[in-house]
């Protein structure tokens, strides 16, 4: 099996010590064999390590879904909220304590369906929160219904004849909504993902990483994938192309592929800073 150059270059001589960040005795996690969420969790922990963040200072907030069970396994200030509501809870924490690093882990359903409104408004505010969207194109936790990222014609338990709703492009939506850092990664490209998440959490402002990962149990089985490996190869590896490589590829090689890497990065005043510098100052000047 071929390995992309980028993956080969960086050899790690020792295994990464995940136990530094995991809560003792919480493993094995609840995820199914081959579920991509575990791979994403690991990339996130390596990125947090690389950023040198203090565990006491990280709030990891999620909604409801398989992906949203992530906070339970890690030794931070962790908050498992309600379906779709991770972002407003996270917004409250961040605004109350801007010195905290606030990261949201959320499913594609959690972030974009029930929580879609919160998602676009968090991006618009450019509040310093990193949003990691675990995009498995299904509602895993409830048993494989179609989600806002399920491809057209895919089979789900609620689209037995094929999905007729076009999927969102999470990155385009985040960008259009005002997020100042927008990127895409996959569980397959795990080192690249680690770097992307690292860049997202060190960016000031709303950073969104759309992370394509596999739900072999529901999306995989319903759509005739034989294994998690096959999903990772066909959807994550062959179905995406790095944005830098894409620049030199002819259009026919890009057809139907999603772009990976940092897709949008701009500087814009961050919400909590604006609150301090504009609102607080004016309010107190008026006294």
């Amino acid at each position: 099996m071929s390995t992309p150059v980028a993956e080969k270059k960086e050899k790690l001589s020792v295994p990464f010590d995940y136990n530094k960040y995991l809560r003792p005795n919480k493993l094995p996690h609840i995820w199914c064999p081959g579920c991509g969420h575990g791979i994403v969790l690991k990339a996130m922990l390596r990125a947090i390590d690389k950023a040198g963040l203090d565990k006491n200072n990280i709030a990891l907030v999620s909604g409801i879904g398989c992906s949203s069970r992530t906070p339970g396994y890690v030794d931070f200030n962790t908050l498992h909220t309600l379906h779709g509501r991770a972002l407003p809870f996270a917004t409250g924490i961040k605004l109350a304590k801007p010195e905290m690093k606030v990261i949201v882990v959320t499913g594609d359903g959690d972030a974009l369906a029930i929580g879609g409104n919160h998602f676009i408004h968090a991006c618009r505010r450019n509040i310093d929160i990193t949003v990691l969207v675990f995009t498995n194109a299904t509602y895993g936790m409830t048993g494989g219904q179609y989600s806002p990222t399920t491809p057209l014609e895919s089979i789900a338990t609620t689209s037995r004849y094929g999905n007729i709703e076009p999927p969102f492009d999470t990155c385009e939506m985040a960008k259009a909504s005002g997020a100042t850092f927008v990127a895409r990664g996959t569980a397959y490209h795990t080192i690249e993902l680690e770097k992307t998440i690292h860049e997202a959490i060190t960016h000031k402002g709303t950073s969104v990483v759309d992370i394509i990962d596999a739900c072999p149990t529901y999306f995989g089985r319903a759509n005739k994938f034989k294994s998690a490996t096959q999903m990772m190869e066909e959807i994550e590896k062959d179905g995406t192309v790095n944005v830098k490589q894409a620049a030199s590829l002819p259009p026919e090689k890009l057809a139907g592929k999603m772009l990976r890497g940092v897709l949008h990065k701009v500087e814009r005043p961050e919400y909590c800073e604006k609150y301090e510098t504009l609102i607080m100052e004016k309010a107190n000047a008026k006294k």
Partner: protein
């Protein structure tokens, strides 16, 4: 002493309590070091291991580690 015997081999540890048998590590190992033994990943050809860490990186379950 032959060259290959002098070469220090890596140590690959599969945590059988955590391995869920998805075979991702086996499928993606570039040098075919691993195999599935029943529903647990196992080492088949340690000599071929390049310590690339891909098995660990892509294991969803914190179940495999490669020590130098």
């Amino acid at each position: 002493m032959t060259e290959s015997a002098a070469k220090k081999l890596p140590r690959i540890v599969v945590n059988e309590k955590l391995c869920k048998g998805c075979s991702i590590c086996v499928d993606f190992c570039p040098t075919d070091v691993l195999e599935m033994k029943g529903s647990i990943a196992a080492v088949k050809n340690l000599e071929a291991c390049t310590r690339c860490q891909l098995c660990d990186l892509r294991c969803p379950d914190f179940a495999i580690q490669v020590f130098d």
